[in-house]
């Protein structure tokens, strides 16, 4: 028997709140973090989902009053998201520490002639790991926008390889001039709040967030999972297949996403009919959303209730997959599916069952997907236990 791997705790730090509970309440009320923000001097404001820096500092100082280390804004987000998990679960020499990020502290690069140490992703990971006393070498997953989904798969695979008994996964990316100017140069940023799958969608909103998940293994005789856990989600299957088509454009056929979903569901031994809910990527670019619709239809998943969280949080890059996985688990625990915010009229050529209002539902099997630059895709299947 392969070791079973469970998610038993999580937390997130977003513009909608600094705990998973606060986020869930805000989402139920339909609130969004997306608003106009001036991010690049001398340029128009962009719609983006941004954490209020003053509130972030207040919250950080409240929880880390004794701290004397100089932390960046992103590091503060990461520490705040991880703190409750570290308080609830002990760290051992068999505990993995996994960071998912695309750009880390990229803002430190501005006007520098040499690389500051803090821009190395491994340094960012080590600084966070050292602060909480992790002893194993940090692992950084940096696979563009699928990083957050992949990070859970990496935890599962390394635990099954017998290398670790449990894992703390953190994911974080922040809004920066670097990222906004880049996506803007691609003309990929939406003119208003993003509208995934809608016929009037015209691009993404960038967002920022940090998210943290605790993953543990369990042999029936081992009892590592305490009966006091609030919940358990079993990690059933994963896959991350490349489109092999284009480095910045999604595949027209959805090949990579289709294969990722197929592989993950095969490993999970779960059929399309059994999937209760899809937390999709849905960036609100013309081509991405269309590609997803094609892939879901090829897997005969078009009738499964589906949403994109981008209308609430924007696209949080390396954090998005982990954050959206957390919200999908919250949905399952509260037996409530959330609408795909800002969706009005069908704007993809293939049918999809897009959720349009808060809806009670029993959710056992969750499919979470993501796609990104470099032709990467990822899918995971989770089961509420």
């Amino acid at each position: 028997m392969r070791k079973e791997v469970y998610i038993t705790d999580y937390n997130c730090v977003t513009p909608l709140g600094f705990t998973a509970d606060a986020n869930w309440k805000a989402l139920l009320e339909g609130r969004s973090g997306v608003a106009l923000h001036k991010i690049i001097d001398n340029q128009d404001a962009f719609y983006a989902s941004m954490i209020d820096s003053e509130k972030l500092n207040e919250e950080f100082n409240r929880f880390f009053a004794q701290n004397t280390i100089d932390f960046t804004r992103l590091e503060k987000m990461l520490l705040l998201s991880l703190l409750p998990l570290v308080e609830n679960h002990s760290i051992s020499d068999d505990t993995a520490f996994i960071l998912s990020t695309t750009k880390g502290n990229i803002s430190l690069l501005k006007n520098q002639s040499e690389l500051p140490e803090g821009v190395y992703l491994s340094k960012l990971a080590q600084k966070t790991a050292d602060f909480f006393g992790f002893t194993t070498k940090p692992i950084v997953v940096s696979n563009a926008c699928v990083s957050g989904v992949m990070a859970i798969a990496v935890a599962k695979n390394m635990i099954q390889a017998g290398k670790y008994k449990d894992a703390f996964i953190i994911a974080g990316d922040e809004l920066s001039e670097f990222v906004i100017s880049g996506f803007n140069s691609f003309q990929a940023i939406g003119s208003g709040p993003c509208k995934p799958y809608d016929k009037n969608r015209d691009g993404i909103n960038i967002g920022e967030a940090a998210a943290a998940v605790y993953v543990t293994s369990c042999h029936s005789d081992e009892g590592r999972i305490s009966q006091n856990e609030k919940f358990r989600f079993k990690f059933l299957g994963d896959s991350a297949v490349n489109d092999a088509n284009h480095i910045s454009g999604p595949s027209r056929t959805g090949d990579g996403l289709y294969a990722s979903i197929r592989n993950a569901m095969t490993e999970a031994n779960v059929s399309s009919k059994q999937i209760d809910f899809i937390s999709a990527h849905g960036t609100a670019t013309l081509y991405n959303d269309e590609m997803e619709a094609i892939a879901f239809n090829r897997m005969e998943l078009q009738n499964v209730p589906l949403n994109s969280m981008k209308g609430y949080y924007g696209h949080c890059l390396g954090a998005s997959g982990l954050l959206e996985s957390i919200i999908s688990m919250e949905s399952a625990l509260h037996n409530t599916l959330l609408p795909s915010k800002n969706f009005e009229d069908m704007g993809v050529t293939q049918p999809l069952n897009i959720i349009t209002e808060n809806k009670p539902a029993a959710v056992r099997y969750i499919l979470k997907t993501a796609s990104g630059f470099g032709g990467c895709n990822a899918a995971v299947v989770l089961e509420k236990c």
Binding site: L109, S142, A161, K163, E177, F178, F186, N242, N263, G374
Partner: protein, 195 residues
Amino acid sequence: MDAMQLLCWKNVKMSVMKKTHTCTIEHSKITVDGNLIFESPGETFQEFAKEAYKSLDLSYPKFHKMDQLSKLAFLSAETILKDEDHSRTAIVFANRSSSLDTDFKYQESINDQDNFYPSPAVFVYTLPNICVGEISIKHKMQTENAFFVLDEFDENFLNDYSAQILLSGKADKVLCGWVELYQENYKAFVYLLTL
């Protein structure tokens, strides 16, 4: 022997997983399976990569549009993958400097408000996994892929991760390795793994 037993056994004896080909690129030299196949007097990586491309007789114009990290990864992959069928070969790469070489260049294009010229052709390479995408496109590899950033090359970690991909049946081979580049400091050590 089921997958888990095999895996436990593997942990005792990693040599169960076969390393069939290796390629090392550093100090303007390309070494394949222990044999030096190319050496260039070129001083910069850019010149070296151009000479290597010619020497390997690659006919792939997209190569010249790639950033330096992708060129490094691409060259190392070419020497191993050749023209064989790799529709079941996964890619698992890692490095230390992520895409910082291109990040730095991109940042220079947006440092000055009066000379602000972000380019999508540069920005797209500000992700380390783009080099995996380039190799996947060249060899039509619609396969599992992953990119890790680690403080130093950790072959055990990469092999353990690759073993999981092989044992789960998601691939038959894994092109695995270290592709590190920042300005003129570079090293690729790439190899092909099978069970």
